[in-house]
């Protein structure tokens, strides 16, 4: 066990956990930030996607000891009231079915748009190909990203 101070969503959090504990479980079990989901645990589905210093990372395979002073953003910290342009687009396009994968989808999409506000369809597909949606909402995911992109300057 060791003590970790983490910067998450602009706040600092502290946890006593084993160094190899994936960030995912620290978020969920220690901090109650359960918006970040478990789907596979081996970086194959994207349900656990968060931002580390602005990059989309799979928190299920990121040991807490590797986070250091990096800035973590989770779905809970994406906006104050669910009004990030990507979240608004997700609502407008009515993307979610069961909804379980969608936090991860939104975090991957946001990381993409932060880097490139006008991605091509191929770039969208490349960025999103690691996020599985078992309900098959892929068409609307693409549509929502295009919509969000059109609203970004």
């Amino acid at each position: 066990m060791a003590n970790y101070k983490l910067q998450i969503n602009g706040r600092s959090y502290e946890a006593d956990v084993d160094p190899d504990t994936p960030l995912l479980w620290v978020l969920r079990d220690n901090f109650g930030l359960v918006g970040t989901k478990y789907g596979c645990g081996i970086a194959q589905c994207g349900a656990c996607t968060v931002h580390l210093n602005g990059n989309a990372v799979r928190s299920c395979t990121l040991p807490v000891s590797a986070v250091g002073s990096g800035k973590v953003t989770t779905i809970e910290g994406l906006s104050a009231d669910g009004d990030h342009p990507v979240q608004l687009a997700w609502d407008e396009v009515d993307v979610a079915q069961c909804g379980y994968c969608q936090a991860g989808q939104i975090m991957s999409a946001t990381a993409l748009l932060n880097k490139k506000s006008k991605p091509t369809v191929a770039e969208i597909e490349n960025a999103m190909n690691g996020n599985i949606c078992r309900c098959g909402t892929y068409h609307r995911i693409k549509e929502a990203i295009v919509l969000a992109s059109s609203k970004l300057k």
Partner: protein
């Protein structure tokens, strides 16, 4: 639109029945008797209703939605039906998700696409009843005849008198109006909400990461557990748990039945300690492998003891005198349901009762089975539903709730059992592996005079659907099935049986049509005409509805008019609804690429256009993904694919464009959760044949010789 988190009915009554008055109606969305609508005055009133509708003096309308929500849009669609008949202002409607705390939930089940068909009329009645009472209350207040009044957007309007009253203002008075015996429902042309695209009422919670799902449930003091389960055909021999118990954060390791449960304080600690278990298993039955099943299929196809499912005419004679016989076989593997949220359940067993909280499609089944297991009265077992991170049939089973309850009763503590993805893929209740053989007898004129189907399945029960098309259109027909009993557990998987049968049948019919040199669409229409004019035996599908979707799909896809594209056709009736699909493949530099799938659905009245398109598109993507990629094979009773690195699900790069159309025929809704899935594999395989001359007989397609070097879904 706002939503409350799930709540018990009693809490709902507290939320809804404000001390300051208002109207509170209790009704049965699952009951057949019309009598089941009443004004509910107070908490002391009978609690035998399973749905409630309240209007507060402030005009807030609250609708209690008792069905499990797993992505099929019920939590939005149900209240839409009530609100339309009520002429409510949708922006003032709140939806409350119910827990299960009543004896009266006959169909608090999500499965079989049956929720909306089951409750359509009762939901409409509830809304219309409230509307009637509000209008009567206004008539009384103004002292005019209610027939001169109308209702719109949560107001009762007196056009002649140029005045209006809001539902909130009328609600308290309305509660003393007699509940009408027979209330007039709207004409469909007057629907204002039904048929529109309405956004999911839970969108905000989902896109902000609120704790909605079973896995998100947390209670102070609860323990976390993971369970090691044996391979199919094995049982527990011995456990050495010393090393696991010594790991940090571990509270206990307990064995029950064939399970070894590691119990601790955090998910990761439990997960790590679990790897330290030393468990010995011993055989308890056959340890089956996929290679055994392949052999079994061949044997049983010829020698198996078959149960006859349908027999018309004299098949033997028809095949003996046939000018031509076509025989084909098709096979599919086991599939896992793999909802994105793995199985999990919270249980707290106390001496006086059991509290269960989690994602289930069948809360009542969980409750009854847990009561039986723990020898308690069902009344002392409560089940609270969370949102479900997908189900696809897996959560119709109660196994994962039962083991949580059993573990809690052993630990005498609240515990949440969490399945890892590996547990989920190894944990059973799969879509069964099945092999079909079809035989068609053609006479000299190319008429289909004989038809045989034999299905061989592993724990698949009746793996045929003997009354489906083309039954009724062929004079001599025999459909039978053979079952092999295996320790590998199986269960309903989205569109049970038809999820693969439709592919096999629609591929076969395509080959028969080609053999008689008929256009595949015309061939099907001719068979349907034959079934209509001169039916053979009983016909259990609606011929006109089936023709309707065939024609709509052909029209919208420009069937037969596209020179550069290979089109494949498929149509299927399942779970009460009809869906036809056309797949389009383009050859680019000699490589086939799947461009587009058109789907034409007849599910009766479309309640929520947004949800309906989601169900159809999602069904197509699901049907395509599992036909193309997913494959669960076994070695000595254990799946060889244990996570998404080897068990393939479809990805965003692999989807073609999907275009949905709906037949508008005014028939009461017949459901849409499943019927769009079955036709997809057949449409794609038929298009693939047209494009390449190669037939796909087995799933997943991506592993077949015929698809070598081809990534059908990926854009070129």
């Amino acid at each position: 639109m706002t939503t409350f988190p799930k709540t018990s009915r009693r809490n709902f009554l507290k939320i809804a029945a404000t001390a300051g008055g208002g109207l509170l109606l209790g009704f049965h969305w699952s009951k057949t008797e019309a009598s089941a609508i009443q004004v509910v005055g107070s908490l002391a009133d009978d609690v035998s209703f399973n749905s409630y509708l309240s209007i507060s003096p402030e005009g807030i309308i609250t609708i209690f939605s008792p069905n499990p929500e797993l992505g099929q849009n019920i939590k939005t669609s149900f209240p839409m039906i009530v609100a339309d008949e009520l002429d409510a202002d949708w922006t003032k409607v709140k939806v409350v998700q119910a827990g299960l705390d009543t004896k009266k939930y006959e169909r608090q089940v999500t499965g079989g696409s049956g929720a909306i068909p089951h409750s359509w009329e009762r939901l409409r009645k509830a809304g219309a009843t409230a509307r009637h009472m509000l209008v009567e209350a206004a008539a009384k207040r103004w002292n005019v005849s209610s027939s001169s009044l109308t209702a719109e957007n949560s107001f009762v309007v007196d056009k002649a008198g140029n005045r209006k009253l809001s539902y909130g203002e009328l609600a308290t008075e309305a509660s003393s109006i007699a509940v009408p015996k027979d209330v007039k429902l709207k004409e469909q042309k007057d629907f204002k909400l039904i048929g529109k695209a309405v956004r999911n009422v839970d969108n905000k919670d989902m896109i902000t990461g609120k704790p909605l799902f079973g896995l998100d449930f947390y209670r102070e003091g609860m323990l976390i557990s993971m369970i090691q389960r044996p391979a199919f055909g094995m049982k527990l021999k011995s456990v050495d748990s010393a090393a696991a118990k010594a790991m940090p954060g571990i509270v206990d390791v307990v064995s029950f039945k064939n399970n070894v449960a590691v119990v601790g304080k955090s998910t990761w600690q439990v997960n790590k300690a679990r790897k330290e278990l030393k468990i010995e298993y011993e055989a308890d039955g056959p340890l089956e492998s996929t290679a055994d099943h392949d052999r079994l299929f061949k044997d049983l196809m010829v020698k198996g003891e078959a149960t006859v499912r349908r027999k018309d005419g004299d098949v033997d004679a028809a095949f003996k005198s046939a000018a031509k016989v076509i025989t084909r076989e098709y096979q599919c593997p086991f599939l896992s349901h793999s909802p994105m949220e793995p199985m999990n359940f919270f249980a707290h067993v106390r001496p006086d009762g059991v509290e269960l909280i989690g994602p289930t499609q069948t809360p009542d089944r969980a409750r009854m089975e847990v009561a039986k297991l723990l020898n308690m009265f069902p009344d002392n077992v409560t089940v609270e539903l969370t949102r479900l991170g997908g189900g696809f049939g897996r959560r119709l089973q109660a196994d994962y709730a039962l083991e949580a309850a059993e573990l809690s009763s052993i630990l005498k503590a609240p515990v949440k059992v969490i399945w890892t993805r590996e547990d989920d893929l190894c944990g059973g209740s799969y879509r069964p592996a099945v092999r079909y053989r079809f035989d068609a007898a053609l006479d000299a004129q190319g008429n289909l005079v004989g038809y045989k189907l034999r299905g061989v399945g592993i724990n698949a029960g009746n793996c045929t659907r003997e009354d489906n098309f083309p039954s009724g259109a062929v004079d001599n027909l025999l459909i039978d099935s053979v079952e092999h009993k295996s320790p590998i557990t199986t269960g309903p998987w989205r569109a049970p049986i038809t999820n693969f049968l439709a592919f096999a049948e629609q591929s076969f019919l395509d080959e028969v049509a080609m053999a008689v040199k008929k256009d595949p669409v015309q061939f099907r229409l001719d068979l349907l005409d034959r079934a209509k004019s001169n039916p053979v035996g009983e016909i259990k599908y609606d011929i006109d509805r089936m023709k309707g979707v065939i024609k709509l799909a052909a029209e919208k896809s420009g069937w037969g008019t596209k020179k550069d594209l290979a089109q494949g056709f498929s149509v299927y009736f399942s779970h009460r609804s009809y869906v036809a699909q056309v797949a389009e493949i383009e050859m680019k530099k000699g490589k086939p690429s799947l461009k587009k799938i058109y789907a034409a659905a007849d599910c009766g009245v479309v309640v929520n256009m947004s949800g309906a398109k989601q169900q159809v598109t999602g069904g197509v993507v699901d049907g395509l993904g599992h036909a193309m990629y997913s494959n669960l094979t076994f070695k000595d009773g254990l799946p060889e694919q244990k996570n998404f690195n080897s068990y393939r699900l479809i990805k965003i790069k692999e989807i073609p464009e999907v275009e949905c159309h709906f037949v508008d025929n005014g028939i009461d809704p017949t459901g849409l959760g499943e019927p769009a899935l079955p036709p997809t594999g057949g449409a794609v395989a038929n298009a693939y044949f047209k494009a390449t001359g190669k037939r796909l007989y087995n799933q997943p397609f991506s592993l077949q010789e015929e698809l070598k070097g081809v990534t059908l879904g990926e854009k070129l």
